[in-house]
């Protein structure tokens, strides 16, 4: 993008994919990148380690188009899931407008899912944000792995009051990826029109 037309007004929304390590956050973004036409998305930036684990974040800009004279754009981010990268996760949550929590269906990751959600609440609180004030969508990923836990068991440790909209996904094949993104985007835009 060499020039930007600032005569038009712009709305920019930040959506963060959060969740435990290896749950499929980056895979979600890679699928979006591969399926959205080039003129509606920018480059995908990945700050990853040599073994392709997210070090700081992945980033993908998406252009929605112009709504009532406002050029509307989503910036999608992932956080590093590994426990010891919490300082980075905290930074990426700054100014967040919507969150996709990507949970892992593997039986040995149930605890990691719960801890990651607790970590999200704590990090949002440090930014002065109550978890109930941000649009959050729950994606239960890796539904196709052998021995995948029942969705409701996973929800019970992340969202026991069943307040979040839940999507089942197999991000590596693209299943549920767009449905999840569409849902969180709609929640963010609804918030905008309610002027919250």
């Amino acid at each position: 993008m060499s020039t930007i037309n600032f005569a038009a007004r712009e709305i920019n929304c930040k959506i963060v994919y959060y969740g435990p390590g290896m749950s499929g956050k980056t895979t979600n973004l890679k699928h979006v990148f591969s399926k959205v036409p080039g003129h509606l998305r920018g480059e995908m930036v990945s700050l990853a380690t040599e073994d392709e684990r997210t070090l700081f974040f992945d980033f993908l800009p998406l252009d929605l188009g112009t709504v009532q004279g406002f050029k509307t754009r989503f910036h999608l981010y992932t956080v590093p899931g590994q426990v010891f990268y919490n300082a980075s996760r905290k930074l990426i949550l700054r100014g967040v407008d919507g969150i996709v929590f990507v949970a892992d269906s593997a039986p040995n990751r149930l605890r990691a899912n719960a801890e990651s959600m607790r970590n999200l609440r704590e990090n949002l609180a440090e930014h002065g944000i109550d978890v109930r004030d941000v649009p959050i969508v729950l994606q239960v990923n890796k539904r196709d792995i052998e021995g995948a836990l029942p969705t409701e068991m996973i929800r019970a440790v992340i969202d026991p009051k069943k307040e979040l909209t839940l999507f089942e996904a197999t991000a590596h094949t693209g299943g549920g990826v767009f449905e999840t993104l569409k849902s969180v985007s709609r929640l963010v835009l609804d918030r905008l029109s309610q002027n919250k």
């Binding site: 480059e43 980033f59 009532q68 910036h75 990426i92 004030d133 835009l189 029109s193």
Partner: protein, 161 residues
């Protein structure tokens, strides 16, 4: 809490734009960007002779993230913030300076441009731009109608199926 980041527009945008244009002329830098702390480009100017810039969305995101990481380091070391960052390579330099707590002024230039000159002119521009951003804080928030949500939903259907 939701923090939509609105690009500058109207009179405020034109004034910021003018200051960036002046800065570009006075310093001889290639690109000059005003980026908000969330990583969105608020305004951008480039020299007529400059080659096509890299993806500005990506530059803005990386600059803002870098600034956030540097600020976290500053806090750990007992500083409120580190207000400027300089990255010098063999061919060029990236210079980033805070515009208050709201934005970052980013300049990208060749090694032939003296860093001292850039710093002097940037500080003057920052004072001017900071005053405009301070005015904007008092501006009433933009109101969106329900039609906005409907229009956006239709576009989401087009984009994501």
């Amino acid at each position: 809490m939701i923090e939509p980041s609105l690009a500058l527009y109207g009179d405020a945008f034109e004034r910021v734009d003018r200051h960036l244009e002046e800065l570009l002329g006075a310093t001889g830098v290639r690109y000059c960007l005003l980026v908000d702390r969330k990583g969105f480009v608020l305004s951008h100017k480039e020299a007529l002779w400059a080659p096509r810039p890299p993806a500005l969305d990506s530059v803005a995101t990386l600059v803002a993230s870098n600034a956030a990481a540097t600020a976290a380091l500053a806090n750990m070391l007992g500083e409120r913030t580190f207000s400027e960052q300089i990255h010098q390579g063999e061919q060029g330099t990236l210079y980033v300076e805070s515009v208050g707590d709201q934005a970052l002024l980013t300049l990208i230039f060749d090694v032939s441009v003296p860093l001292g000159r850039v710093k002097v002119h940037t500080k003057k521009t920052i004072t001017q731009v900071a005053a405009i951003l301070a005015e904007l804080q008092d501006a009433p928030p933009v109101q969106f109608s329900e039609d906005f949500s409907k229009g956006a939903s239709a576009l989401l259907d087009d984009l994501l199926g």
